[in-house]
Amino acid sequence: MLTIHDKKVQELEERSTEIRRDLIKMLTNAGSGHSAGPLDLTEIFVSLYFHVMNHKPKQPKWKHRDRLYLSCGHVCPIQYTVMAHAGYFPKKELMTLRKLGSRLQGHPEYGALPGLENTSGPLGNGSSQACGSAYSLRMDGSRSHVYCVMSDGELQEGITWESAMFAGKYRLNNMTWIIDRNNIQIDGNTEDIMPEEPLRDKFEAFNFHVMEVDGHNIRDLVDAIGQGHAVTEKPTVIIAHTIPGKGVPFMEYDFRWHGAPPGKLETETSPKKDKQMQVALNELRTLGGKIESEHE
């Protein structure tokens, strides 16, 4: 059974802050890429790589590893940063993001970087690949678990629901989908662009076990993932409510930071472009502010 002790929660919260720092530097250096999603997914990726998943960074193809399929490939900067911290590759390589010849492609490529399970970017497809992986692992009697991290915006893709039907039909209880419910997409807020609510009801109708958590609360995330493991008759989906741009005050809640890195966009509340990275680092909401730890 999956549990987490207070000390570990605090350690992962501190780790999340370090990772957000590297993320901000990496995105600024790249000069293009997405900010809001990677920032708000930090606790989710940190929980998966540093507590939940069985994996061996030095043996990325280890047969008994749990699989992490990324569906919304544009948030890969957070996966890269967490993987570097976990020991998959040197941290200094983070500064090659989106550059010619880099293993850190703008959207993640299977085969380019050890440890990536799939190529991702075209929205909706990661969830279907996760289903295929879960089905195959079950055929082989494997105990590995499949996780799929996806955005809320990509739920508008039809293939998501084809895959959901498949997962429900075949009772893929060895699979957990985690939705980054940050309510934004490129053109605005999801409920203005193409309403998705009632999301819980939709997934329940597709025969998923559904949970909703605060996506920045590591304890709640881990508990929900553990509960999903205990559900044997259904696949699990965790709707993780997050704040887009979490941690950088001038980005939080603003959909315009979906596809812009620090230094590329000026808003009413942002510093001048050339000051953004430093301001973001200085004002980074660490364990204080809205993600205050209950243990401090």
Partner: protein, 330 residues
């Protein structure tokens, strides 16, 4: 420049007879995939509610645990195959070609081609000879949209036996493969002795005046056209280019050089199809006058297969006429 082979491949003695045995190429898939499944337990079949007509029934009955019913959902058909392949399975994903690779081209591009995975795309009901179902179900653009994808191999076998051999060969080949086949019965004119190798065009009948290069069941019409041409004193060569990608550039340049005139024959859009592929190859390697038998920027329509083959000028008479025209350009 390589010299053209002058030996014709072995063909059934019944090849030019009117009573030649006719079997749909899709049956070759149905038998081939069971044989491939017996040889390799990693092979799984994914089916979109078309078990009988795509000839998956025998596989389903033989290997029920390796048959996955997807429902009518071609996008996830390809996407889920991606996950299976990443875990080491060899998925054969089958539907009508209009829907796979028609509807799910983007998923195929990503999971099969960009990821370079061992996925076999089985496109049934290709060509106008699908018949009464009409334009929506007569897939003509599949060759164009698959051969443009890096890493993809594209096969259009010509009869029942060759389809079976193509399926077995595709199962052995690592990487994504698209195989198209037809709905209606067509002559089985190849034999176990006819050479078949992915990537190699075979000279079925030697000749020197014009090279007719075809793929799919219309290769038999090309052979019959050569017989008509012989009666007019024209010595036509017939080449079976069952592999459209990777195209056998060497053989195609050699036969073009020998004959000095080329006709391509396919039951698909010539633009982007075999005709397009041969034209691209010859423009680079051996510029040669060409004529294109196939569908020209049109959709299909309802009718019987035989009526449609004539209506779209894909039959032996049309092929022979095109051959005579292109010879004039030499």
């Amino acid at each position: 420049m390589a010299k053209a082979k002058t030996i014709s491949a072995h063909l059934s003695p019944a090849t030019y007879r009117e009573n030649i045995k006719k079997v749909p190429t899709r049956n070759g898939y149905g038998d081939g995939v069971v044989e491939a499944g017996e040889k390799n337990e990693k092979i799984v079949v994914l089916c979109c509610d078309l078990t009988e007509s795509t000839r998956n029934k025998k596989f389903k009955e033989t290997f029920p645990d390796r048959f996955i019913q997807m429902g009518i959902a071609e996008q996830s058909l390809a996407g889920i195959a991606g996950g299976l392949a990443l875990e080491g399975k060899i998925p054969f994903i089958s539907s009508y070609a209009a829907f796979s690779p028609g509807r799910n081209w983007e998923q195929i591009r990503l999971v099969a081609c960009i990821q370079n995975q061992n996925i076999k795309i089985i496109g049934a009901h290709a060509g106008v000879s699908v018949g009464p179902d009409g334009a929506t179900h007569q897939m003509l653009e599949d060759i164009a949209i698959t051969r443009v994808l890096p890493n993809m191999t594209v096969l259009a076998p010509s009869d029942y036996l060759e389809t079976k051999r193509a399926v077995l060969a595709a199962a052995e080949l690592k990487g994504p493969v698209y195989i198209r086949f037809a709905r209606s019965a067509s002559p089985t004119f190849t034999t176990a002795k006819t050479p078949f190798k992915i990537g190699r065009a075979e000279i079925l009948k030697d000749g020197s005046d014009v090279a007719i290069i075809g793929c799919g069941p219309l290769v038999h019409e090309a052979l019959m056209a050569a017989k008509l041409l012989k009666e007019k004193g024209v010595d036509a060569m017939v080449v079976n280019s069952h592999t459209i990608k990777p195209l056998d550039h060497k053989t195609i340049a050699a036969v073009a050089k020998k004959c000095g005139a080329v006709v391509t024959v396919e039951e698909a859009q010539c633009t982007g199809g075999l005709g397009g592929a041969v034209a691209e190859s010859l423009a680079k390697n051996q510029p040669t006058p060409m004529r294109f038998i196939g569908v020209h920027d049109q959709f299909g329509t309802s009718g019987t297969p035989d009526e449609l083959i004539k209506e779209f000028e894909l039959d032996r008479t049309a092929i022979a006429k095109a051959a005579l025209e292109v010879i004039e350009l030499k």
